[in-house]
Symmetry: C2
Subunit: 316 residues, 2 copies
Amino acid sequence: MILTVTLNAALDVTYRVDALEPGAVHRIAGITERAGGKGVNVARILHALGEQVLATGLTGGATGTRLRDLLAADGVPEAFMPISGESRRTVVVSADDGATTGFWEPGPPVTSDEWQGFLARYRALLAGVEVVALCGSLPPGVPVDAYATLIGYARTAGVATVLDADGDPLRYGVPAGPDVVKPNAAELSGLHSSLLGRRVTVGNLDEALAAANATRKLGAASVVASLGRAGLLAVTGDGVWHARTSEQLAGNPTGAGDACVAALARGRLTGGRPWPDQLRDAVALGGASVRSPVAGEVCPTDHQRLRAAVTIEEMS
Amino acid sequence: MILTVTLNAALDVTYRVDALEPGAVHRIAGITERAGGKGVNVARILHALGEQVLATGLTGGATGTRLRDLLAADGVPEAFMPISGESRRTVVVSADDGATTGFWEPGPPVTSDEWQGFLARYRALLAGVEVVALCGSLPPGVPVDAYATLIGYARTAGVATVLDADGDPLRYGVPAGPDVVKPNAAELSGLHSSLLGRRVTVGNLDEALAAANATRKLGAASVVASLGRAGLLAVTGDGVWHARTSEQLAGNPTGAGDACVAALARGRLTGGRPWPDQLRDAVALGGASVRSPVAGEVCPTDHQRLRAAVTIEEMS
């Protein structure tokens, strides 16, 4: 069983428009709503892959209720903890020319008691899982070192951890020793910059390798960096691999990172496959996600076809 | 007492951004929510002016509850009828350079029983009012001739009517004989085009006069056309007037039409002032609304100052 944690879950709302014209009024014909937030997307993908998964995190208000109803409709088991604040929405305006414009509302305030309540629930849930995926931003009120705390409890419980975060939550989380960290290039740049105390950019494989090594030194057992079209760079205790697909994938990149996290999370299950296999799965799932119009969904046919198109290179 | 009817009420949500960049993700720092829809804005303005007002219409779901809570917080009495559908949101992205971009969700579906239930409530409410303002679009399921029905009941009850609508709801409403119709130039163009069976544009006072005369012939007792910076053209049984302000008003034009409707509605109250006074009030309120950052709000100081800047010309 894999547990996904989404502390800043969101109701994803998509408005379809012919074209986005700043300054104009757009009458929306079609609205799509779905449960969102990185960990929720990871849970949905794992569920679609036939893995046993449970989604937890914080939700509140009418928006939170709607989010949980939609997740239930998708068949994804959940154990979100209710909070008094109102869950946020993430509004995406999707134009017919393919451009997507996002408006991310701030998360709901979380009280100290609510956070303590969540920690108790999380520790109880850990008893029944093998892997936990910790994903996304933190709403206001949740301590900046929240992921460090959650990783610490998992480690004590003998549960593997995959961390997908950005900024301070990532920086505070890595020293707690997650099994895998999955930053993208921008997140890795930010982390490496803060470690070095000067602004650096991860623009190529060498720079990604240097930043990933620094991240391992800080505490992560393995780092899998998602570098967009350049694929994945995995820096692990067993070796370093570069995995990519030769297919040029057009589509919606939102959610490709979540698909990658899903692959890495199931790679941590007992009897999990060796790194090259996990990376092949991660690239193929990410690619299938890019081809899907909706974040957090993958077409099984795309997934299988793309697996064959992935090349894995072991780096010395 | 004035009754405002908002069949397609909305929760107005404003996202403040530095700049709207199509294709980018915007993290929203500040969200403002308020009860919206044309008739709701009219009610809020009338309440602020010290008039006795009651807002009715249809609201549903968590969004409808939020809308009613916000209206109550504004102190505006309401008697909305609950429906099973979820009230819509109107999302406005307000950029620091002053550009506002709107995303209008479609209204909730309304069942036949709900519409009949509303008609019963409306007829009961008519017993206690002198004027009813019928404002805005119709949600799906409400008959296209809804305003004709509502005007008919008002006429039977001896209640004056002000109609502010567009497209088919306007075209079907006018023959029922509203006391005042308040179209803007685009709405008047559309109505006149449908009457003539060919596309005409209301671009100047002469064209507005021709279209207003045709609208009166169709059934409206008076027509007050709001022509943006060109002011108001009132075509009535007592005469024709052109009212405008010499002040160049910069700001948010959303809601200026609602302010104008508020002035015309209170002009229909017993002991109401003569047309030139009503038009002065309407132009000044509309101007004060333009200067307000929020639709449906007017600054009393702006309102009073602008009254003095309005010129009224009687047209032969």
